[in-house]
Assembly symmetry: C2
Homo-oligomer: 213 residues x 2
DNA sequence: ATTATAATCAAATGCAGGTTTAATTGTTCG
DNA sequence: CGAACAATTAAACCTGCATTTGATTATAAT
């Protein structure tokens, strides 16, 4: 029953990886199905065998990126054996390194997704089943992304409560931190003076200094 | 000789303001000429009386946004009567307030402009005069934007050199700062808990704390 | 008034990009 | 082998959007 896929055939994941690159490079609207297909040596039409449509493919990219980074950050955030400072330092490092290495991570964080996200529901008309499914997945993605932000916020808040950090406006401080991170995904170029780890180290240093009592 | 424009007619600047809003809301590709025209109660065709094409209009938006913020930041950066801390504090405030008030400023900073900017020159074919003009304006815009970043970098560098700030990796610190700023343009919503000034105050506080000796 | 020009529009053009269809070529299992 | 399904494609379809063209209307200068 279980058909093993042919060796040379392109997998769902191959497409996601390629799509992530094209998405990060060109932005949502400018990333064409043809571009993505070309990146895996397929025809645009072939992509529809793997994904219902462009939005679904894009959402899959975002989900992959978010999962990738969540898997790394969540355990750190929950490691109560570590001090708040140490947890935050490691979270910053993972996030920035992820951003510089996995193109899908950047895509998952950044905005140009408005189109996808706005998804102007034709008011009145009932959504088709597919549309409902899509809307649900999209909402789940956003909920998960909020959760991601909350991981940072909670570590910072706890540090403040324990007196390990000075009192700051936690929501604003968190957004400041994450904004700085996400921006790395924008300007980072491989072969620069610093690699992801180097950037991460400095960034963590600055934000921890800002929190010092 | 000088024909005064009719009172009710739409001005170039009206269009730029409207286009900035649409651009910030929808992103480059999704901002259609029709949308922009509708925002000033015109037909898409009418826009071509004021701007050669979409790219030119968009570039005008970016230039307007950059000019707006440059005019405010440059004098602060060059006010040698102030300490580095004070200059930086005021620059941060102006930038963030600008970002929350003038939609064009955000557009000028952020990326989704890749399309415009990549502007894949059909290799080989000579550029038409119009294309050359456009390419020149675009390059000038980017040069000006680099200048903008340099204003911040120089103030920070000077603070470090004078011993007013602790030693930091100036380029990275600057990018960190500006990333945090630009991100404000993404998440800021009017009617939130804090207005631009409130956000600016806190942000400046954190970064100055990070620089404290 | 007359004329030149500014401002605007309706309609047509052309094309790029998402999506569908129907057919073709594997591949795997019994 | 042959049935069943997976992977892929070429070609057609359709639509939305930038842009052009050819009027039409408004305004200001003479």
């Amino acid at each position: 029953m279980a058909r093993k896929p042919a060796d040379q055939s392109v997998s769902r994941d191959d497409i996601i990886v390629a799509a992530a690159e094209v998405l990060q490079r060109n932005g949502y609207e400018a990333a064409t199905m043809k571009d993505i297909a070309a990146a895996v040596k397929l025809t645009a039409a072939s992509l529809y065998h793997h994904f219902r449509n462009k939005d679904t493919l894009m959402l899959a990219v975002l989900e992959a990126g978010l999962s990738h980074i969540m898997e790394r950050i969540e355990p750190i955030a929950q490691n109560t054996a570590l001090s708040s400072s140490e947890r935050l330092r490691r979270m910053v490092a993972e996030h920035i390194i992820g951003l510089t290495q996995n193109t899908a991570v950047g895509a998952a964080m950044v905005f140009e997704i408005r189109t996808l996200m706005t998804f102007s529901l034709p008011a009145g008309d009932a959504l088709s089943v597919q549309e409902q499914e899509f809307a649900a997945r999209r909402d789940a993605f956003f909920a998960r992304r909020d959760e991601f932000e909350r991981l940072f916020r909670d570590v910072i808040r706890q540090g403040v409560e324990l007196g390990e950090f000075r009192a700051v406006d936690v929501p604003i401080f968190t957004k400041t931190l994450l904004g700085a991170h996400n921006w790395v995904g924008v300007w980072y170029k491989p072969n620069g003076r610093l690699d992801g780890a180097g950037i991460a180290e400095r960034t963590a240093d600055y934000f921890l200094a800002a929190l010092r009592n």
